[in-house]
Symmetry: D2
Subunit: 132 residues, 4 copies
Amino acid sequence: MFQTKKVIRLYHTDAAGVIFFAQLFVLAHECYEGFMDQVLPLRTILDEGQILMPITHAEADYQKPIRVGDALDVTLTLGAQTAHSFTLNYTFKKDDTQVATVSTRHVVVHADFSGKTRLPEELRQALDAITQ
Amino acid sequence: MFQTKKVIRLYHTDAAGVIFFAQLFVLAHECYEGFMDQVLPLRTILDEGQILMPITHAEADYQKPIRVGDALDVTLTLGAQTAHSFTLNYTFKKDDTQVATVSTRHVVVHADFSGKTRLPEELRQALDAITQ
Amino acid sequence: MFQTKKVIRLYHTDAAGVIFFAQLFVLAHECYEGFMDQVLPLRTILDEGQILMPITHAEADYQKPIRVGDALDVTLTLGAQTAHSFTLNYTFKKDDTQVATVSTRHVVVHADFSGKTRLPEELRQALDAITQ
Amino acid sequence: MFQTKKVIRLYHTDAAGVIFFAQLFVLAHECYEGFMDQVLPLRTILDEGQILMPITHAEADYQKPIRVGDALDVTLTLGAQTAHSFTLNYTFKKDDTQVATVSTRHVVVHADFSGKTRLPEELRQALDAITQ
């Protein structure tokens, strides 16, 4: 698995005093980008202009209020995988208590969105390494 | 059902040229806030300080690329409902073609997050009116 | 001048209970995009791929707390203008009381950021029309 | 001075392929929050409920395109200071080249926004330590 730490900042929160729910997806994607930095950076993908890996499904469950200053441990593992897609599961913990989970499904497509294509080999191998 | 229109702005998009997935949840929540404005504005809820209605589950499916300038028709309908919670379903269409859907489940809690409480009566009635 | 209305939504605010300062810039840019929709939509500029109009300077002054649900009247007028750049001034009012101002300076550049180029003629004319 | 590093993530960018200008303010504020974590965390300020330190003026200059994956060195120093306010200056560098600057002016107010009050002593001392 891949692990990182995220501190909740003021812009993640809203006037109800806790995280604005959509920001949890932003935090998950930051974790994903950190993972990809070691494998196939998004910048490289965009510069090469051959493929994109848009998210086709995303979901989150919120178990505990998350507040500004909370330091969360994020764990990334691989869910389902096909030749053209992969699902990533994120677990957010605060002091060993799970506070939220996120899941995102990515499909590999040609950069003009004309259709599916296969996962890059280096990504496939890196995903194997974070299989739960 | 409740309907509104949202135009995709530059800040909704990212360097891949399409909407950043988390922004779809922001757009859905804006639609929800527009609905609540007619029923029980979020500002009123926050000012009264009795209850909050945090999201405990959110999910989205992305069917078509969404780009800056796209004018989307958003439809809001009620999904499952209990004494303490309700699910809202959002459909995003561009020129009558569905491009994405969102679902959010809200639980009504005491404002200190100490436990569940019942849906305000005016909200319960307004939700009845958007039952699919 | 160009005018629009913006309602402050939950995602604009933070745990201090008021607007997160950076969101005022987002609101200003949305107003700018609404103005451009009538002149030269950003989508058209991006699709044509000839020029970009990045912001080289931005500033804001915050006079009154802005809260969720506030309906703000935004006024856009032209500030300084050169052959290659233009400054836009935004005034935000709530019930006729000014609550904030924003200013953004845009420079017209070749789409590869290789250097300045002249304002498109249709934009130059539209800016004339919002000269204060 | 106070220093930190920020990596530009996809959500910071827009369809023009570079950072969305308002996100630079978000990055600056994250740096500020990192500084405050060592002095007087925002969470503590909000929990105590005595004061707030809203931003009354913000400005930014953008010198070079900033793209996804860019690792920026951020330096925070103190600008002007009064009994009730302070200005923070942020410099963003990529590989020793300055790419942008931000400045934010904060005023210390009673938490109900009823008027100005003095800087907390621990903050005053910490600001002394980052005087340029």
